[in-house]
Amino acid sequence: MNIKKELSKSEQSEKVIILKDLYKTYHSSEVEVHALNGINLHFNRGEFTAIVGPSGSGKTTLLNLIGGLDNPDKGDIIINNQSIINLKEKEITEFRKRNIGFIFQSYNLLPVLTARENTELVMMLQDYTDSECKNRAEELLKEVGLENRMNDRPSKLSGGQQQRVAVARALASKPQFILADEPTANLDSKSTEGLLSIMGKLNKEENITFIFSTHDQRVVKKARRIIKIEDGKVISDENIDKL
C-alpha cells in the first residue's frame, strides 16, 4: 500500500481526541445505570489503544460517544479541535462518514453484498468514482488477505474472514480513527491473531488511530496503550511505549 505517511514527532503526539468530564446515565423503567462518571481522556494520532474493563464498566458507551453514535449527558468531546456534541444530525453523520471507521463485534456486513461490495459501500456514499471504489476495495481486501474471496458473500466466509472484511470496510474511506467494539469476541485464536496483525500493520503504515474496547487478553497484549475502566471511571491508563 502506497499510502504510508511519514509524520513528524510533533504530529504523532497531536491530541486528536479530547474527552472532557464525560457523564452518561441510562434510564430504564426501574433503575438508573451510570455508564460514565466523569471521564477525562485524550487520544493522540496513531495510537493503538485498548479500553478494558468488566462488562458494564462503560467501554462500549465510551466508544459510542467518541464515534458520535450517542451524546453524553454532560461533558465535551473534541475531535480535531472541534466539539462534536452540538453537531446537528446531518453534520454528525457526515463527520462519521469522513472521519471514523467502525468495526462491530458481530461484523454487521450486508449479507446481500459480496466482500468487495461491502468494502466499496462506504466509499460509494462519498465522492469516490466507481473505479476508485473498486481499486481501493481490492487493495484493502488484498491487504487483509482476502484477495481470493472478494466476490464471496458473507455467508460463505468464516467469522475471521468476515471481520477482516469489516476491517477493510472501516478503512475504505481513509478515516482518521477506527473504533472497534469487541472485534475479536466472536473469533478463534488463529483468526484473532491474524486480525490483530493486520490492524497493527495498518496502524503503523497508515498512522490510523485505533481504539478498541475488549475483554480479550490477546488484544490487550498487542495494544500500545491500555485504559482500564470500572464503574464508568478511568482507573488506569498505561502507555506501553512510554513505559
Binding site: R98, V122, R169
Partner: protein, 495 residues
C-alpha cells in the same frame, strides 16, 4: 437531496434485499397482484356495464340527439308538436354531403301517452308513431325482436300493427307459460331430468299466465320445489307468446276527446332495459295519425344519430354540432344524453370515480398487510441499518432505501396483476360474463351479459395508486427503523 450515484447504489441494495427474504417478498407481490387483478377486473366490469348502458341508450332507445318543442319538455301533451319540415330543412344541411356529414340519420316520431289494454291486463304506455324504414337508421330495435314472436313491421294484418316489449307482453298477459310436446322435447334435449319431464306431461297445453303459477303447478305434480338447472330450462322453454294478439289503445286526441285504436302485436322486442320494454310501444306513424287528429308535418320528436367519425358517444364531441343545430332552431329544444337518458349519463360520469373508489378500497385494505410484512422484514435487518447509519448513511438515504424496496415489490406485483387482468379481460370482453343472473341488471336498464372493458385511465389510476401504496407502506417501517437508538440498532436491539 440524495446524489444520483447514491440513488443507484441504494436502489441496487434494495433490489438485492428483495431477493433475500423471498417468502416475505412473495407475500407482498402476491397480495398486490391479487388486489390489482380484483380491482382491475371489477373496474373493467363496471366500465363494461356503464359502456353498454350508454351504448344501448344511444343506439336502441334515444339516439345521440333529440329535437322536441319547448312545451313538450314540460308537458308531453299531444299538442306539443313542431313542424317536421322546418327541422328537416336544418338537419338535411348537416346530413349532406355523404360520409363526413355530422348527421348520419334522423327519424321523426309522433308520440302519445296511452293506456294499452287486452282482455287480461292493461298498462300505461308511450305509443310512438314511426316510419319503420327511417327508425331503423337511428335505432337497432329491429334486431331485438324475440325469434318466433313476429317481425318488425312486416306482418300482414288488417288492423294496425304494433311492436311491443317483452315486459309489456307479460303485463298484458300476451306472454304466458305453456308446456307443449315440442318444448318438452327441447327441455329433455337440453338436459332436463327424465323423471321431472315425465311428471310435466300432466301439465301439457295448460296456459299459466305467470311464472309463479307455472312453478306452483310444477311443485304440485312433482311433489317438490324444482330448482337449479331444471327450473331454468322449464322457464326458458315454456314461454309462449300469443300470436298476433290484439291490444286496444285509448288516448286523448288533439281535440281532447277519448279515442280508441285496436292493433295487433306484430313483434315483441327484448332490450337490456326492462323499463323500456314495459313502457314503449311502436306503431307506423300513418296508422297513428288517423286516430289522433295530427298530420304528418306535426311531430313530437326527431331522433338524430351522428356520424361515427365524430366519436359521438362522448358528450364533449357532440356539443359543437348540438349547439349549431340549436342555434338554427331557436324555438325548439335540442337534447343530448344528459336529458334523454340521465341515468346513462350519470353512469358515464361515475365510471372513473367508481373505478378510483374501488381500487382505493382494495389497495387500502392490502396496504395494512403489506406495511406489516414490510415492517417485519425491515426490523429483522435492524443491525444492518444500524451499521449503515454508523458508517455515514443519512436518514434520507435509509428512507429512500426502504421506500425503494417497497416500491419495487409493489411495482412487480402490480405489473404481474395488470398483465393477468388484461389477459382475463381480453378473453371475457369477447365472451361476456353473466355475473348477476339473467334479469337482476335488466330491471336497472342494463344488459345482464357484461363485456368487461378497460380504459387508459384505469392504468393511470393503478400506477398512481400503487405508487402511493409503495410510499405509504414504507412509512411505518421507516419510522420504526429511524426511531431505534443508533447504539441499540448496531447490536440488533429493537428499542
Amino acid at each position: 437531496m440524495i446524489k444520483m450515484k447514491n440513488i443507484k447504489v441504494l436502489t441496487s441494495i434494495a433490489a438485492k434485499n428483495i431477493q433475500r427474504n423471498k417468502s416475505k417478498s412473495r407475500i407482498i407481490i402476491l397480495s398486490i397482484m391479487i388486489g390489482t387483478i380484483a380491482g382491475t377486473f371489477i373496474s373493467a366490469l363496471m366500465t363494461g356495464m356503464y359502456n353498454q348502458k350508454v351504448h344501448d341508450s344511444i343506439y336502441t332507445e334515444c339516439a345521440h340527439l333529440q329535437i322536441v318543442s319547448k312545451s313538450y319538455l314540460s308537458d308531453e301533451d299531444i299538442n306539443s308538436t313542431f313542424s317536421a319540415q322546418k327541422a328537416e330543412s336544418v338537419l338535411k344541411k348537416y346530413q349532406n354531403p355523404g360520409k363526413n356529414a355530422p348527421i348520419q340519420a334522423f327519424s321523426e316520431q309522433t308520440i302519445i301517452l296511452s293506456m294499452a289494454q287486452t282482455a287480461r291486463g292493461n298498462a300505461g304506455i308511450k305509443l310512438t308513431g314511426i316510419i319503420p324504414e327511417e327508425e331503423k337508421k337511428v335505432s337497432d330495435l329491429y334486431t331485438k325482436i324475440i325469434p318466433g314472436t313476429g317481425s318488425y313491421f312486416s306482418s300482414k294484418t288488417s288492423l294496425p300493427e304494433v311492436v311491443i316489449g317483452d315486459k309489456l307482453a307479460e303485463i298484458l298477459r300476451i306472454k304466458n307459460y305453456r308446456i307443449t310436446e315440442k318444448n318438452l322435447a327441447e327441455m329433455l334435449h337440453n338436459g332436463l331430468d327424465k323423471d321431472i319431464a315425465a311428471k310435466l306431461n300432466s301439465l301439457k297445453n295448460i296456459r299459466y299466465i305467470t311464472k309463479k303459477k307455472l312453478e306452483k303447478a310444477i311443485k304440485a305434480v312433482t311433489g317438490q320445489k324444482v330448482q337449479g338447472k331444471a327450473i331454468s330450462l322449464i322457464r326458458k322453454y315454456s314461454i309462449y307468446y300469443g300470436h298476433m294478439a290484439k291490444i286496444t289503445f285509448s288516448f286523448t286526441n288533439t281535440a281532447g276527446e277519448l279515442s280508441f285504436l285496436s292493433c295487433r302485436v306484430g313483434g315483441i322486442f327484448k332490450t337490456s332495459n326492462t323499463f323500456f320494454d314495459q313502457s314503449e310501444v311502436f306503431i307506423r306513424q300513418q296508422d297513428l295519425l288517423k286516430e289522433t287528429g295530427l298530420t304528418a308535418n306535426k311531430i313530437h320528436k326527431t331522433k338524430i344519430l351522428l356520424n361515427k367519425n365524430l366519436k359521438p358517444d362522448n358528450l364533449k364531441n357532440i356539443q359543437p354540432i348540438e349547439q349549431e343545430i340549436q342555434s338554427s332552431l331557436p324555438k325548439l329544444k335540442v337534447l343530448d344524453i344528459r336529458n334523454t337518458s340521465p341515468d346513462a349519463y350519470s353512469f358515464q360520469l361515475m365510471s372513473l370515480p367508481s373505478t378510483f373508489i374501488i381500487l382505493f378500497i382494495i389497495y387500502l385494505v392490502i396496504s395494512f398487510g403489506i406495511a406489516n410484512t414490510m415492517t417485519m422484514a425491515v426490523m429483522e435487518r435492524i443491525k444492518e441499518f444500524g451499521m449503515l447509519r454508523s458508517i455515514g448513511m443519512s436518514k434520507k438515504e435509509i428512507r429512500y432505501m426502504i421506500m425503494a424496496e417497497s416500491l419495487i415489490l409493489i411495482a412487480i406485483g402490480a405489473l404481474i396483476g395488470i398483465f393477468i387482468s388484461v389477459i382475463i379481460i381480453i378473453i371475457t370482453s369477447h365472451t361476456g360474463i353473466n355475473i348477476f343472473g339473467s334479469s337482476s341488471l335488466e330491471s336497472f336498464g342494463m344488459n345482464s351479459l357484461i363485456y368487461p372493458s378497460i380504459t387508459p385511465e384505469l392504468f393511470i389510476i393503478i400506477v398512481i395508486m400503487t405508487g402511493i401504496v409503495g410510499i405509504v407502506t414504507a412509512i411505518s417501517p421507516i419510522n420504526k427503523v429511524l426511531k431505534i437508538k443508533l447504539t441499540n440498532a448496531t447490536k440488533g436491539v429493537l428499542s
